[in-house]
Symmetry: C4
Subunit: 304 residues, 4 copies
């Protein structure tokens, strides 16, 4: 039996699921290419999120009686404050998602921390509670990040891909005194992998039909639930907030709720439950590159 089976969920549930929403608005595009500040079409593509999509998602969650977890870059908090406050007011969980949706690869620790701090300040300035959870923009975090998160009081991260269920993560191999909870994700559960289409900005080359995406998600959901895992859906208001796509989200939630053996809740509650289990933490050791002479071929990760 693999470690993935038999994870102890509360109340006799067999598996868990969470609807998470990455409320990026225009932040990712501005970080990737600052020239975007002048690109009205590109901005309007992203603004569909805060202007329309976020409200569609809220209504679907309300209609199904589900609380979600919304990861919000600080720039979105600053610029679309009312929409973020409304998410909070409707009882959903807010999480940290960088300040300007900065992937954390290829940075020194001080810069990583500046981005983290600037994101936290935006929440504070808007009178919103400090988030307990973090998701790295583009899921990109480094071996330095978990310790930073622990130092700033985060309870959990949701950016890694090496398990089907939550686990305790030691924040460093040298002195694993602290742990955070990791709530893993995976690309096929992210609407970006099916819908992203911004010529000149993404290399993605097709747009899938919402009905096909729903079928893919249902297939994933059932399989993850059957092994007792945690299905973490990731959607974006500017993508899944569109009329045809929100139906796929709504029908997916209906499918989850119809199963009854799945605990559908926020990442925060799943993290608290996981913490209560006092699991032995996973300790990640960064690989040592076996070819020192190839290190000079190292290069920054591309955005896409």
């Amino acid at each position: 039996m693999t470690a993935n089976e038999g994870f102890p969920w509360p109340d006799g549930k067999r598996a868990a699921a969470a609807i998470t929403v990455d409320f990026d608005a225009e932040s990712a595009m501005l970080f990737e290419n600052p020239a975007s500040v002048d690109y009205l079409n590109l901005m309007s593509l992203q603004w569909y999120g805060p202007r329309v999509g976020i409200f569609r998602i809220l209504r679907v969650l309300e209609g199904r009686g589900v609380r979600g977890t919304f990861f919000v870059p600080g720039f979105t908090v600053d610029r679309w404050t009312d929409a973020v406050r409304r998410v909070h007011a409707e009882g959903h969980e807010l999480g940290h998602h960088g300040y300007l949706h900065e992937p954390l690869y290829d940075l020194d620790e001080r810069t990583e921390e500046e981005y983290l701090t600037r994101g936290l300040e935006a929440f504070a300035k808007a009178g919103l509670p400090a988030p307990r959870g973090f998701r790295a923009p583009k899921f990109r975090l480094t071996f330095k990040t978990p310790a930073l998160l622990a130092r700033h009081g985060f309870r959990y991260d949701s950016s890694l891909m090496d398990s089907d269920h939550p686990y305790a993560l030691a924040v460093g191999p040298p002195a694993p005194a602290a742990t955070i909870i990791e709530l893993p994700v995976h690309w096929p559960l992210d609407d970006w992998a099916y819908y992203a289409f911004a010529p000149g900005f993404t290399p993605l080359s097709t747009i899938q039909r919402p009905e096909s995406v729903l079928a893919a998600w249902v297939e994933e959901l059932d399989a993850i639930a059957d092994v007792g895992g945690c299905f973490v859906l990731t959607i974006h208001p500017f993508l899944s907030g569109r009329p045809a796509r929100i139906r796929a989200v709504d029908r997916l939630i209906a499918h989850i709720q119809a199963r009854e053996d799945i605990w559908l809740t926020t990442l925060g509650e799943i993290a608290d439950h996981t913490a209560s289990l006092e699991l032995d933490p996973v300790v990640n050791v960064a690989p040592v590159h076996p070819y020192p002479d190839r290190l000079e071929t190292a290069r920054p990760a591309t955005f896409t």
Copy 2:
């Protein structure tokens, strides 16, 4: 309720739809790579539009009794004048689509205006009425463009992506004295996202079947109509004019007409109706980039 629901359509209609045709011919390829003037295969791929596809589209519209809106680059007007005149003679609306299909990103205002003017001159020279509507090539316009359009007497633009229904757009935040009407588009409603395939010129990597594209469009149409929005289809004569693909367009129109609760008309009429509502204009404020030191990483948008 989001702002998208409850848009007041005339005559008790629930939603609106428009068939728009971007009649690019060879212009986009010539702008992107001037070496294309010698590429006979590439030219012939694009010439399918003015030589065959445009007439197929006209016949389908005639068969269904539908008037469409055709956005035509000035270069197409100059080079394929008879075909453009025939579109006009059959009662369809002509719109502005640049002179040589120039995306408007990364230009100074004077160059943006030169392209606009040169396109208008082509219409005048061909004895065609000045277009009242504009669509930016590749949908790419900047925060400077709406004011230019207003100054040149345009009633509407159809290039943005931040709403499911039309709206009034203030042409600038400093002095929103003027407005134009915005009739939003979206990539999944554009045949380019499914059919574009020109190795070495597009990074697109697949060609979808017309039956799959029809299914995608019907799914989008029904969802947009159900929220009371405006379904703006964008097709290209060199793509959707092919025998198997024109059937998808024809069957989509039949599907729209069968619903009866959808007002299927030109963008010009939808713009006039929207203007008559005297809506409060949307004011777009360009984001201020929060990392001034990153501005030096700004770079021109790529064509694809």
Copy 3:
């Protein structure tokens, strides 16, 4: 009515179809990156064609009683002479496909002609008849190519994309004394658009199922036949010669033959029929680029 409808096919047929086979073997890869001469895996991928696929295709054509048209680069004639001779011996038509599968873009006329001549010499050296038809590698020919083809006695070309049926093509606008016949192609009828997958060499990112490809081709075939056009299928032995894919070809041919209103034959016979109609030739005039200052941004076409 567009020019495409009502093309006069012989014997009361409504439409025509041809199975064409681009027998590239390793030539395209060698031209694109000469380092390929050492890449055994890449060579083996391409060698599936002359070692296995070509014979599968021959057997299917034999089983269905169909003659095809095989476009063969001179390098394939030199290196896989027996296989090419067998194609000829079984009664199929051989056509010219460059020497080393050279796309003809960005070359001076002398180089274009060298490639043409070198390909012809390979046929002569192998004792094979001089081909009457030409297909440009990657379909890439220039405004200079038709005159070259006429000067070397070619009857037809099959590389352009601006019609659904054959036509007479004037070999130049200055003195259209000569014509060749053009038998147009299109990407969705080319197996390369669905199956090509060679990481690091093609940007294509998916492999479609043969059953899906068959469905796409049947959809195209029926639509083209219904408008009285000419369906020109393009397949490659290293792609469509695989076990599951050859079935799609076989079933497509069965579908064509079951319709009875389609004339299924070689391109040479279709070209002869077209020539007999003494049609007014199409005269292609290369566009004059309207922005002389942009000509300095011209750049060679990329391979993919």
Copy 4:
């Protein structure tokens, strides 16, 4: 009849099949970009293999009573020794897959041999038997590789794509004294072609549903079996080990076993059977590039 039909399988079987597993873990990413040592998300994506996926695959093979062939880079042996030992302990075959998943293109012979040797040392150090089979990382081997494999005592390679069945391969044209057995592969039988998705590291742009992938594999399997070939499936623990995808593998194996005319076994056994047939070896002669002046345009193959 092509050479592919009528290959003599033992015990009256019509065809053969093998489940092969490329157990890369993080090695490919580290070789391609050494900066990956710090990319925790990317590492976690790859670690799903040794932490979860490998055990799911083992359980499915055990449940179906099937022995597989696992190609393991030496770095995986060094870093995930217990998982590799378990694969061995459960009776599966281990094969060589480079040390750090090094594609063998563009290297001198000494470097090719260093990678081969370093991989062998990892097996020895872990007390595992020396592998008899080799699969080149990314299937990339050169005309120099077969002789190297023979010199180091390998019985077979499984990286080429020019046949549907095994064959004897002469290790060099100058003195074909030695042969190895080749067990060919093909991209549509590799889960990487359907599931790979790592933005910034792969150019792949879509993720297919496991049910679609299963349908593709069944279509391939049936066609290959019907021509008497050898179906070599290639899966990766970090891809096919996921809950929904492992079902596709399990159902594919059930489909193979239900046919009864297919010999489902390890590559090692298929190689031994093939060797016993004492077939005339295939001699591969590297092409001589016909345009010496183009050799200066040779460039290293890109990773993707």
